[in-house]
């Protein structure tokens, strides 16, 4: 069910989500961000690597299927750790939780922790983002 994020309590665990690093989506992402370095590196190594920030963006997108950010919400900070290089076709399972919730001025300050794992259950991505949501 889609919920307004500012209505959630600290500690709330979002429903687990999963997505596949679809080649078409990765190509679309690379074109959108004009990344020339990753394709050059992947070609040199003979790998179908996915840009790490694309994995993070797709993970956030999967989270957004459960929560709604009101218009005017602003990304405040981002922490990310990329554990291993990922390739197209891999399936990533994501879990996320609301790790912080406070008020500052006219905004809710919310922090979301997240972790992505591959099909064997090994962590491949971890992160934390803060978002400023208008009150």
């Amino acid at each position: 069910m889609n919920k307004a994020i500012e209505a959630l309590e600290k500690g709330h665990r979002f429903s687990a989500t999963a997505f596949v690093l679809d080649e078409e989506a990765v190509v679309r992402y690379l074109e959108a961000v004009e990344d020339e370095a990753l394709p050059r590196l992947a070609q040199a190594e003979g790998k179908a690597w996915v840009p790490p920030m694309a994995v993070a963006a797709l993970a956030l997108r999967s989270l957004m299927e459960e929560m709604t950010l009101p218009a005017g919400s602003i990304h405040g900070s981002q922490e990310l750790e990329f554990v291993r290089a990922l390739e197209t076709g891999e399936r990533i399972a994501c879990r996320a939780w609301l790790s912080h919730r406070s008020q500052r001025g006219g905004y809710w300050v919310l922090a979301v922790g997240m972790e992505g794992a591959d099909e064997s259950g090994r962590s491949v991505l971890a992160g934390r983002l803060t978002v400023m949501v208008p009150r």
Partner: protein, 141 residues
């Protein structure tokens, strides 16, 4: 990108990362919205965005981080994809007609049994030189 990674030995304290400039446009922001699924109207709805303190649409923070990630991929290759860490704060917004510059430098080097670990200060500036993103990236070579 002005430079290419030529070997680990070049990464000493103070070494500059390969900087780049990217010119934004509403078309590019819309393209990123379609690729990422983030259609927040602050990014894609000029009429809505005009009523906000920004006075117009702004680029997705994750688009600017993609530019940073491209720089780190160019600099460190697979070491960035596997084991890279990034911690940044968004300090300002990039408007849809701005040119942003991505850059950084090695701030700290630590030699250890498992190899070299680098901490780099990274940033994204707008054409007025204002800091939009500041933070630190970490890689193990």
């Amino acid at each position: 990108m002005r430079q290419e990674a030529v070997g680990e030995e070049r990464w000493v304290m103070g070494a500059e990362l390969p900087s780049s400039a990217k010119t934004l446009s509403q078309e590019k922001i819309d393209r990123y919205a379609r690729a990422s699924g983030d259609f927040n109207p602050i990014h894609v709805d000029p009429a809505f965005a005009a009523q906000t303190p920004f006075g117009g649409t702004i680029a997705h923070g994750m688009l600017l981080l993609a530019y940073l990630s491209e720089m780190l991929t160019a600099a460190f290759g697979q070491a960035w994809l596997a084991g890279g860490r990034l911690k940044i704060r968004f300090r300002g917004a990039a408007r849809s007609d701005e040119t942003v510059t991505i850059g950084g430098h090695v701030q700290r080097v630590q030699e250890g049994h498992e190899g070299r670990r680098l901490w780099c200060d990274v940033e994204c500036l707008n054409q007025q030189g204002e800091v939009l993103i500041a933070g630190q990236a970490e890689v193990k070579l």
